[in-house]
Symmetry: C2
Subunit: 227 residues, 2 copies
DNA sequence: ATTACTAGAATTCGAGTAG
DNA sequence: TCTACTCGAATTCTAGTAA
């Protein structure tokens, strides 16, 4: 690793240097960040000379606080990340309709599932899923959805069996609205399952092997909810 | 500058590498980030060997997407920054009561001001401000409040004069609730003005030169509002 | 007890260039 | 056309140590 003003400022911020002068000693500062005392000394001098912190030397140790310039550096980073993770956005993807697996229909006929979908997604799901194999180009989106702020369907038990938790996202397939389901444990790495209030296979463009456009709503993360 | 995996991942994310494979050429990648083609080549190899991106070489260029590990790296950074800027928190500070300037009372007697305070802060302000000189220790908080997500009092005109915009934050002074006002242009770098629905100087511990505890509510930033 | 200088080791970066 | 190797210059980091 090497000098990274933003990382250092985030570290100081966590200690309160945005709102007050905090005491910093080079040995401790270096140790906490994995650097030598000498390097920490250079880093602090550099942050100060670049105008990111204000530093006053004391007889023992020094006191620092973050300046407006330093605040901007990390606040801009926050704004950028908020654009990626904190704001709703629509993610487009292309995929190919795959034959259903039958498993989805059984899952969707469980009342423990139907009730949650009606409550959290706002529609009564047709008992069957549409499987879409994502184009290789777009397959990474599954990773994002699995770790993202989806609508949680809690696990439930029925027929003496356990049905696992899954995450849902509102979406449209060829312009028809529904929801993407991302099981916690997916067997198929490139396959998404879509539910809707209608039988999607009845739609004109939907048949096995057809290529469809999918638009997934990534809802962003409100401060109160964490996955 | 030097190798900074997080900065590189944020850059790739903005190009869509969280949700799909994107085409990256080392020359272009380097130029956009201010590095040579050779350095960009090394950086991309390094991101891949550290497991932050998946990279497939094409006849011309390469395609990359961000892995789960890479996603975690920047998502954790986002979470940390959200703790600083996105979540409500209470910031404590100490200050000393200073003689009022008289200016505050005139400002607070304007109906263009009173109406906004009642609407946005929820109380009818007593026509006078309590000036608090922050302890040197806590003076940096003004910087944070001035750039933060405060409640905006819009500028207005009255008596043929313009009254400037200011930012407000709910607070308590010695346990009594009120609000901090941060004018856009402050004359006094260490002084905060406090308003309340009562005359704060009537309170037992409040007299010139008394040291008081201030608790400012930093409200965090909901995705919809930007300063 | 704490900062920061000097000097040397290790790493990083870019030009030239091969594949 | 594009990636990535070699090698030398520049930078960064740590140990020892002075202040």
């Amino acid at each position: 690793m090497s000098y990274d003003a933003r990382a250092l400022l985030v570290f100081l911020s966590r200690k309160g240097a945005l709102e007050r002068f905090i005491e910093v000693r080079t040995e401790e500062f270096g140790r906490e960040l994995g650097y030598s005392q000498q390097t920490a000394s250079i880093y602090l001098s550099r942050l100060a000379s670049e105008g990111y912190i204000e530093r006053t030397m004391r007889h023992r140790g020094s006191k620092v606080c973050i300046t407006g310039k330093g605040l901007s550096l990390i606040f801009d980073l926050y704004s950028e990340l908020e654009g990626l993770f904190g704001m709703p956005r629509v993610i487009p993807a292309k995929g190919r309709i795959a034959p259903g697996l039958g498993e989805g229909a059984y899952y969707l006929s469980q009342s423990g599932y139907i009730d949650q979908v009606m409550d959290k997604l706002g529609f009564r799901p047709y008992p069957g899923t549409l499987n879409i194999v994502l184009s290789p180009q777009d397959s990474p989106v599954i990773q994002l959805l699995r770790n993202g702020p989806g609508i949680v369907i809690e696990p439930f038990e029925s027929d003496g069996r356990t049905f696992g938790r899954c995450l849902c996202y509102h979406c449209t397939v060829s312009g028809t609205s529904g929801a993407v389901m991302v099981p916690n444990r997916t067997i198929h790495k490139n396959t998404l399952e879509i539910i809707s209030d209608i039988r999607l296979r009845d739609l004109p463009g939907i048949r096995d092997e057809a290529v469809v456009d999918l638009s997934v709503v990534y809802p962003g993360r409100s401060p109160s909810e964490r996955s």
